[in-house]
């Protein structure tokens, strides 16, 4: 029997349906793989008992012909999603051993459709980071290494655990969240596929909030098809989240393999940065050529306000975060570090509970919202946001179906390599933040390798609620570039 972990989610689904193997078997091989891959530090909590129980239940349902769209498929869950009776920490000390009494809407939809939970995945603390180095559980290791080297590399972030686990074949797919690139950048660093849906496509209810107007849940999968399958179960309107949109959820998988003939693909000139590595440049051109070969028409477009996106993002996101994280005060749940007064209790708890990057962003956010600075920072950043959104709208109004860009300005870097300068770290999101600022869908698809053998990804940005086009185009790139699997060293 072939190693079941090497199957795609789609293949496993078909295998389960025609009873080539059981969910319990599929789950066991993944549990073993997780155990063998602890060096990657992708999981912060393994839930084998729960996984087996869910797998047995799925097998029973499949046996009765009642299996849902994800029946028996073992998944990893980013630790930002509240999971009922299972510790949820957002990888922050401040949540300590917090165990929710509730299940996030997105994960409850996955369980509704029959999926199996293997455990909780590592991420940057409160999803703040681009390397998964800010987690209180320590950094996640990328299963990819440079050719002939054994330097440990970051998997990107904040969904580093999700990307690493999917790339290392520890789970068939994973949930992730994306506030400024947290799905797409790690997907690009690990040769996995990551979809950040349109803002409002997935419910945010039960997901630990970072920046409410930017946060969006999405899947990381092994292939475009796998990602489209997960997407269908994760999406949907939720009356408990006012910002979720009441719109029918399409059959995203049906879009995979659909012709892209005649589609106009925007190539934004402003994304051609000074000093951009030649291999990124080359990858981008190749991507355009592949899409052209499939019948699409690449056209140069302009998104003139792109250069303001990153600074504006680093005002809006910390501002919202400073307020969203105020609830972690040591009074009701999570960590409490006592003090002689309530003020001291707050200070001690938050000083000890939050890591350096979270503290930095809370302080930036508090500053930009302060009286006297609000207009100069927050209000202006919101105006920039409107302009960025308009850039995209103008582009789509001219008939552009999707926009092609590099996913990241470089391949994965070494753990500890970019710790010193936060701005250098923030630059990782240069190609992805615009999408969050405009609330659009974006997908990262593996497209090649750099000279050191590390994966690189391309990003496709779509019209609001047109994830389907991104799946169709993404699959063209996937077909042309091939799939990439890291050599196992762990």
């Amino acid at each position: 029997m072939t190693d079941l972990t090497s199957l795609t989610l789609a293949e496993a689904r078909d295998g389960l349906a025609n009873k080539s193997f059981t969910s319990l078997e599929l789950t066991e091989v993944h549990l073993s793989a997780i155990e063998a891959a602890r060096a990657l530090n992708a999981f912060v909590l393994e839930t084998p008992d729960q996984a087996r129980a869910m797998a047995r239940e799925a097998d029973a349902k499949i046996g009765k012909g009642q299996g849902g769209p994800l029946a028996g498929i073992p998944l990893g869950i980013k630790d930002l999603f509240a999971t009922k009776d299972v510790r949820t920490t957002a990888c922050s000390r401040i949540l300590g051993n917090f165990v929710p009494t509730y299940e996030s809407t997105v994960t409850s939809q996955l369980w509704r459709d029959g999926a199996v939970m293997l455990g909780k995945l590592n991420n940057d603390e409160f999803a703040m980071g681009s390397s998964n180095e800010t987690s209180c559980f320590g950094p996640v290791v990328n299963p990819w290494r440079r050719d002939g080297a054994n330097t440990t590399l970051v998997p990107g972030g904040s969904s580093g655990g999700s990307a690493s686990a999917v790339a290392a074949l520890l789970c068939m797919g994973a949930t992730a969240t994306d506030t400024g690139g947290s799905i797409r950048q790690p997907a690009a660093f690990t040769a996995t596929v990551g979809m950040k849906p349109t803002y409002g496509r997935c419910s945010r209810w039960g997901i630990v909030a970072f920046a409410s107007s930017l946060d969006q849940a999405g899947p990381i999968g092994r292939t475009v098809r796998d990602t489209s399958i997960l997407m269908r179960s994760m999406a949907g309107h939720d009356p408990k989240d006012t910002t979720s949109v009441d719109r029918a959820v399409p059959d995203y998988e049906a879009a995979v393999g659909k012709s892209v003939k005649g589609m106009k693909i925007g190539i934004p000139k402003e994304y051609r940065l000074d000093g951009m590595p030649a291999e990124i440049e080359k990858l981008w051109s190749e991507g355009a050529a592949w899409l052209k070969a499939a019948g699409a028409e690449p056209v140069e477009v302009s998104l003139p306000h792109t250069k303001y996106a990153l600074p504006a993002y680093y005002i809006v996101a910390p501002a919202e975060a400073s307020s969203n994280l105020a609830r972690y005060d040591g009074v009701r749940y999570g960590l409490r570090v006592p003090g002689r007064s309530i003020g001291e209790l707050y200070e001690n708890t938050r000083a000890e509970g939050f890591g350096a990057e979270v503290r930095r962003r809370v302080m930036i956010g508090t500053y930009v919202l302060s009286a006297g600075y609000y207009d100069a920072y927050y209000l202006r950043a919101q105006k920039v946001r409107t302009l960025i959104k308009k850039d995209f709208e103008d582009c789509f109004a001219k008939g552009v179906n999707a926009i092609l860009t590099p996913a990241t300005p470089s391949a994965a870097f070494g753990i500890g390599e970019k710790g010193a300068d936060p701005v250098e770290m923030y630059l990782n999101d240069i190609f992805t933040v615009t999408v969050n600022m405009a609330g659009l869908p974006g997908i990262a698809v593996p497209a090649g390798k750099d000279s050191q053998g590390l994966p690189l990804g391309l990003q496709l940005i779509g019209r609001p609620f047109d994830e389907e086009t991104l799946f169709s185009l993404g699959e063209v790139i996937e077909q042309a570039a091939g799939r990439f699997t890291p050599a196992r060293w762990w």
Partner: protein, 492 residues
């Protein structure tokens, strides 16, 4: 506004004028909280009405309770105010143990209701119009309990997230009397609308009072805010104290610090709570978890059409329809329950046009007088509106005299029963039979020839004869008939 009812305070350097504005926090009457499904019931076990949202658990999101929005719009309409078809919820950020989210969801730049006005009646037929600056919706906080343990404080989140309307007046108020009358009137309007129960003891209605003083005609002075007043009487006392305190400082050459103060009802004085330097920077920004609140003109029109009759309209109707004096009408409409009682009395009357005013007199003088004496309120009246209506009918149709009616009222108060049947059973009917009365009159004239002679010389003595006739008829003779008969028989 008119200066009616304004009261200048004499200081050592001349007259001073108070300038007062109020922020009233009114708890919205609703079954569940502003952004969660938890109950708003008062007095539950601590932390028994707390949802995951109210406790600010990770990943929880607020969802607007449309019933609360409807109440806010109805209140705005009741205050003759502009309804904003688009408004925005903001976060007001500060740390406090009874504020689980670390921010209060409120409305800062774009409130649901804009400018309006309230006409406030003062004594002696005067009135003053107080402008409404705005009304916005916001969450209440929980309650810190410091008396449960010697070493710890506890928090009760039952109130956390309950909907409040903050109603901000313009600084149009010029005396403590006006301020008290304004709160009284506002409370009355809210209770008529059913948007707030106005129960100040339970904290359903609280006011922050802004007070400053100036020499008449000069620019506004620096104000102090007296927080969290939950009694109309204390509002009056606090304003009087605070104005004099400020005048004292200014006349001594000092300056007023803009600050927040608390009123101590035991000492009857205000004291500093925190100064402007310590004031919070609330870092307001639009709540990204909530969409702007938007509704159509049609929605507002529908709510407007469904508004109940409010005190001003009811008062006008009572005056125009039944000839009530403005004072009597004001007394009747002040409380919704009194007005409802009076309306029921009216509804029961056989001849509303004839007896409406009489009914008002009976409700105000006899019923309210008696209720006050016994410390009861209208909802606990032993005499029902229907019973009182019947008593008024009996007077109006001439079956009993006003004097007998008072006896009848007393019987109904003590024993209950149908007034008409009581009059019949106890022989309280007024005698209008001319023959019967004439006999009594003749007997008395015959028995008192000396008085007859005196009366012819001094007609005022007729009163003595009337008294004698009434006495011997047991009060049941119709006084007008007696009077007429005596006049003709005595030839005066």
């Amino acid at each position: 506004m008119s200066a009616t009812g304004s009261k200048l305070i004499k200081g050592a350097t001349g007259d001073w004028e108070m300038v007062i504005g109020l922020e009233v926090h009114a708890q919205v009457t609703s079954n569940s909280k502003l952004f969660s499904g938890a109950s708003t019931e008062f007095g539950g076990e601590p932390n028994s009405h707390v949802s995951l949202v109210d406790a600010a658990m990770p990943g929880m999101l607020p969802v607007i309770n449309e019933a609360c929005v409807r109440q806010a719009v109805r209140t705005g309409l009741g205050l003759n105010a502009k309804i904003n078809l688009r408004s925005v919820f903001d976060r007001k950020n500060y740390f406090y143990p009874d504020l689980p989210q670390g921010y209060q969801i409120s409305q800062y730049k774009s409130p649901v209701v804009g400018e309006g006005e309230v006409v406030v009646e003062l004594g002696g037929g005067d009135s003053v119009t107080v402008g409404i600056e705005r009304l916005h919706l916001e969450q209440d906080a929980g309650k810190s309990l410091h008396d449960q343990s010697p070493t710890m404080s506890f928090v009760d989140l039952n109130r956390s997230g309950v909907a409040l309307m903050e109603i901000v007046s313009k600084p149009d108020i010029r005396s403590s009397e006006q301020a008290k009358a304004y709160v009284t009137k506002l409370r009355s309007i809210l209770r008529y609308l059913g948007t707030c129960d106005g129960d100040m003891e339970k904290g359903s209605l609280r006011a922050d009072v802004n007070v400053s003083v100036r020499k008449p005609g000069t620019p506004l002075g620096t104000r102090c805010e007296i927080k969290n007043m939950n009694s109309i009487a204390f509002i009056g006392q606090a304003i009087e104290y605070e104005a004099r305190r400020q005048i004292g400082i200014l006349e001594d050459g000092g300056v007023i610090d803009q600050e927040t103060r608390l009123f101590d009802p035991n000492k009857g004085e205000t004291r500093s709570m925190r100064s402007k330097e310590e004031a919070h920077d609330y870092r307001y920004f639009p709540d990204p978890d909530l969409l702007p609140l938007e509704f159509s003109e049609a929605y507002v029109a529908e709510l407007k059409a469904d508004l109940p009759e409010l005190p001003d309209q009811k008062k006008a109707r009572f005056i125009a329809g039944f000839g009530l004096s403005p004072y009597d009408a004001s007394v009747l409409v002040a409380e919704r329950e009194s007005a409802d009682f009076f309306e029921t009395v009216l509804a029961d009357l056989a001849d509303k046009a004839r007896d409406g005013k009489l009914a008002a007199n009976w409700v105000i003088n006899e019923l309210f007088g008696r209720l006050n004496k016994e410390g009861r309120d209208i909802t606990g009246s032993p005499v029902s509106a229907v019973q009182l209506g019947t008593i008024v009918d009996l007077i109006g149709e001439g079956t009993i005299s006003g004097k007998i009616a008072k006896d009848l009222f007393e019987i109904v108060w003590q024993e209950g029963g149908d007034p008409r049947a009581l009059v019949e059973a106890r022989g309280m009917k007024q005698v209008t039979d001319l023959g019967a009365i004439e006999k009594v009159v003749d007997d008395i004239i015959a028995a008192n020839p000396d008085k007859v002679a005196q009366a012819k010389a001094k007609p005022a003595l007729i009163g003595w004869f009337v008294g004698q006739v009434m006495k011997s008829s047991g009060g049941k003779a119709n006084p007008q008939t007696v009077n007429d008969l005596l006049k003709s028989k005595l030839g005066i």
